[in-house]
């Protein structure tokens, strides 16, 4: 199960530089693609691999590529989404810091497949150090003839530029990202038209996550069919998981899709268990936007099957008893953590980050934040729990972009699985206030851990 494709050489000294990366077999995928394959061949391999977008939505990458419109004489763009701002997610920053050439190589292969001659990597502005790292890697690749004019003498031209954002979670949404890249506020666009038809500067554009783009390198090196053999069913390949919260060894792990969640949390190869010998209370498996799961639904699905790290298994049971793979931001909560406070914190985040275009999102997130703060500080009433439920339901599905849903789902899941903890805050106003700032033993932990 310990198959690695992206982080294979992570511990090799100097792997962040071109020389060592090349010695370890780097840029073979560019050579193979540009010298021996047509762009359509590359798209075909990515389709065969079954790779699904690693940015959160899990949309098949090869299929997305095949939707790209190709009108005569119009430029096409590949834009890499390195905005990484979803709370709980830190794999892209890690990859770009440690092995920047893995992204640059993937950018070249992917741009070639799409027929793009200019590609941009949109990096969140706070990642200035990573921007410098990527710019250096680009210069190195260019000096070695893998970028620029007439790559490897095969007549293909490509320039890659790094673009900083300005600090806004919403710019991770692909159309907001494109607006931002055009020098505007990050307001998501109404779709259709989709970026594949009218994206950057109104031209056909593909937006892909850092990890999706990096994954094209092993796919081209080994072939799509080989890649598809890794993993389970429609969850092929490996996935970078960002593990945070109350774990013995938080960090970024590359897993083969299909790893049991229990093994991921407790095995020494991965997170090494819950910190300080505490019990697990809950898990957010795919970044702050996905529903939280109480411990009793983390290791087993409602049907009693082992819960696996796959798109399908994590979603098993729908939102009633399941969650989503999302971006792979895996947050573990120990028995001392307060779910109400965490939900308030996330809601505050979404309110802060709402672009403000749609009233359900702009007003609803602010309203939920206030109500949650009330309840958390012991000033709430039982009716307010129902009110919260009502607000989140009215946001979901009624907005231009999925940020509205992303704000609604965590609230719904917290009430669904931890209603007693919300009620506890209301029935114990004094204790709730006293412990307002600290981390306290509130409700009973959901379930002794297996």
């Amino acid at each position: 199960m310990a198959r690695k494709l992206l982080l294979t050489h992570i511990d090799v000294p100097g792997i962040e530089g071109f020389e060592v990366y090349r010695q370890q077999g780097g840029y073979r995928a560019v050579e193979k693609a540009v010298k021996t394959m047509t762009p359509d061949d590359v798209v075909e391999e990515v389709k065969k691999s079954g790779l699904r977008g690693r940015g959160g939505a899990g949309f098949p990458t090869g299929m997305k590529w095949s939707f790209l419109a190709k009108p005569e004489g119009v430029a096409r763009y590949l834009v890499c989404n390195a905005d990484e701002s979803e709370p709980g997610t830190f794999k892209d920053r890690y990859l770009m810091t440690k092995i920047p050439h893995a992204l640059i190589e993937g950018m070249i292969v992917s741009s070639y497949a799409l027929g793009a001659n200019t590609s941009y990597i949109y990096v969140r502005g706070e990642m200035m150090p990573q921007i410098r790292i990527l710019e250096k890697a680009i210069a190195e690749a260019k000096a070695a003839g893998f970028l620029g004019k007439n790559i490897l003498g095969k007549g293909y031209d490509l320039e890659i530029y790094v673009q900083p954002g300005g600090g806004a979670y919403i710019c991770g949404e692909e159309t907001a990202l494109l607006e931002s890249l055009e020098g505007k506020r990050g307001n998501p666009r109404i779709k259709p038209p989709f970026p594949a038809v009218a994206g950057l500067y109104g031209c056909p554009t593909v937006v892909n996550n850092v990890e999706s783009i990096a994954a094209t390198v092993p796919i081209i090196n080994d072939g799509g069919e080989e890649y598809a053999k890794i993993g389970i069913e429609r969850s092929t390949g490996t996935k970078l998981i960002s593990a945070s919260g109350n774990l013995v060894k938080p960090g970024v792990y590359e897993i083969e899709l299909g790893l049991p969640v229990e093994e991921f949390i407790y095995s020494d190869e991965y997170c090494g268990g819950i910190a300080n010998g505490k019990r697990l209370k809950a898990v957010v498996a795919g970044g702050s936007s996905v529903p939280i799961l109480p411990a009793n639904l983390v290791f087993k699905t409602a049907n009693g099957e082992n819960r696996l790290m796959t798109y399908e298994s994590l979603a098993d049971g729908g939102f009633q008893t399941g969650t989503m793979m999302g971006s792979g931001g895996f947050i573990a909560y120990d028995e001392d953590q307060c779910i109400v406070r965490n939900t308030w914190n996330f809601t505050r985040f979404y309110h802060h980050e709402s672009c403000g275009q749609c009233s359900p999102c702009r007003e609803g997130t602010g309203w939920m934040e206030k109500v949650l703060h009330n309840i958390e500080s012991g000033k709430g009433s039982m009716e307010e729990i129902d009110l919260l439920w009502d607000i989140q339901r009215k946001i979901e599905g009624n907005t231009i972009c999925p940020l509205g849903d992303a704000a609604a789902w965590p609230v719904a899941a917290a009430i669904r699985h931890f209603r007693d903890e919300f009620e506890w805050h209301i029935t114990h106003p004094e204790e709730a206030q006293k412990r307002n700032f600290g981390l306290a033993h509130y409700a009973e932990p959901r379930q002794p851990v297996v």
Binding site: P87, G125, P129, G165, G183, G186, Y201, S242, S244, F349
Partner: protein, 167 residues
């Protein structure tokens, strides 16, 4: 604050504008604002107007952007702005304690400047380092500090004070 862009800055601007197709120079707005802020510490109206003139766009187009994104400062800040992550995952490992500690040590509220003009602090949202929390960053280079403790914060503040004296 009235500003004049140096030849070096103008050269950087030109290099950025060349990254985009013709007539798409507005794409350079966010990167150029970062350069301007790194130089002057914040974005004055005059600085924004001059960026607008440079890019041949309306001043309002610059204000819109500068007010939308959280990284741009529209008023002067301390020399070192400590930006501490306040989002969920970091709170699980003590970010709220660190924020309180910074506030106590600096003796100023969020967004305010210490009397010596050296420090400001503010809470920011998830900085994509949740597994290494609590974390803080300091612009304009966005130097990153991970796995923060109260002692670590104290040491950092001392280091920054010394650094400020050397300059």
């Amino acid at each position: 604050m009235i500003v004049t862009f140096s030849a070096d800055m103008l050269a950087q601007f030109a290099e950025i504008v060349a990254r985009y197709p013709e007539k798409r120079q507005k794409s350079a707005l966010l990167p150029i604002l970062h350069i301007v802020q790194a130089e002057y510490g914040w974005l004055s109206v005059d600085a924004m107007d001059k960026v607008a003139a440079y890019l041949a766009i309306q001043p309002i187009e610059v204000y819109e952007v500068a007010t939308f994104y959280t990284m741009y400062f529209l008023e002067p800040k301390g020399k070192y702005v400590l930006e501490i992550c306040r989002t969920g995952p970091c709170c699980l490992v003590g970010a709220e304690r660190i924020i309180k500690h910074v506030e106590n040590r600096l003796g100023v509220k969020e967004g305010e400047v210490t009397e010596d003009g050296l420090f400001s602090w503010r809470g920011v949202e998830c900085m994509a380092a949740c597994g290494f929390g609590p974390v803080l960053q300091i612009g304009p280079d966005y130097t990153f500090y991970e796995n923060l403790t109260e002692d670590g914060v104290d040491q950092l503040l001392e280091q920054l004070k010394e650094k400020a004296q050397q300059i």
